[in-house]
Symmetry: C2
Subunit: 207 residues, 2 copies
């Protein structure tokens, strides 16, 4: 019989590193707690201690998995920008004359989904009130959204165009989902896509 | 010689109501302090007591002039939406095919001006984190912006169109002035108007 204290699982637990599947669950629980805390209280009023408490883990474990508060924030909100697994090219590939519609559907898709709406709200609220969170937002938008879209445009000012298209999408999301301005907040999704897609398209490809 | 205690000015001061010009200065000082506090700390973390302290007045005077915290907030941010004196029709009147450019120039005008940028930042930050502030924002946008623009449109969905035009403007302001996404943040104003105006115009008047 092996000494239980020498079994790999126990040794790992003693070092504070749970086995792989448990580790993934713990990470997910920390990220979910982080999204909720950042969304409810904003970046500056959320601490690693508070996130750890909400996730039911030791603060050291949060630092172990993610590093600083800024890195927890980036990890917690990245899901809202990352393409869905298996659909990595939805935004930047496909017919160029339908890129506006693809971007509009992507934006409404993540905001209509409660699981991705929370991180988006967290990032928006935090980025508007805190410079560090704004820097994370800048990096994510550039890497995941405008950079990928602009890379495929053949026009001058490609980055500026991608950012102005993003402005239409971000502004629509803010007024519909956060401010809840009517009739925008209750408008039918297909009607909205019909209005927003041509404008995003125009930003990106109009000569 | 009159009894100084009976002079009208002193009597007014004793009742806590300063004479008219001083009264206007006090109101302005309270509004400036309110804008600064709401902008720096958001709606929920700003109290009438805090605003009074920043303005160097008694909290009772803030209540006397403005009423509740919600009413102080509405008064403090209304300036950002109210048309400049003498130019009440800039947004809704003038040639219909230049309404997009007028709205774009109006938006960039208030954000480029430090005096009106502060109340806009205050309202945006607060509206994204607090339901009461969001309700004030909804009312101001509807009364001062989309309502006035929509009233002059002859197309179906006039209000929705006005709100989607506002979404482009709000989103552009957020990414340029708050998040400071590059190259948008440093882009030349005329270049931006050239990109944004046709899109706002399209929202409002494209059949």
């Amino acid at each position: 019989m092996t000494d239980p204290a020498k079994a790999p699982g126990n040794a790992a637990r003693r070092r504070g590193r749970p086995p792989r599947t448990e580790s993934a669950r713990t990470r997910d629980r920390i990220l979910a707690a982080a999204r909720e805390e950042f969304s409810a209280h904003g970046y500056d009023r959320t601490s690693v201690r508070r996130i750890a408490q909400a996730a039911g883990v030791d603060p050291a474990l949060v630092h172990h998995y993610f590093g600083t508060k800024e890195q927890v924030f980036a990890a917690a909100v990245e899901i809202a920008f990352a393409p869905a697994p298996g659909a990595p090219d939805t935004l930047a590939e496909g017919p160029p004359d339908a890129v506006g519609e693809r971007l509009a559907r992507f934006m409404f898709g993540v905001w209509e989904n409660p699981a991705t709406r929370a991180p988006l709200l967290a990032i928006l609220r935090s980025a508007l009130t805190d410079d560090t969170a704004a820097a994370v937002f800048r990096r994510l938008v550039a890497e995941q959204l405008t950079g990928r879209v602009a890379a495929r445009l053949r026009l001058p000012d490609a980055e500026l165009r991608a950012e102005l298209a993003a402005a239409q999408l971000v502004g629509t999301a803010v007024l519909r989902y956060v401010i809840r301005l009517e009739p925008l907040a209750s408008a039918d999704l297909e009607q909205l896509v019909a209005h927003v897609a041509p404008v995003v398209q125009r930003h990106l490809t109009h000569p």
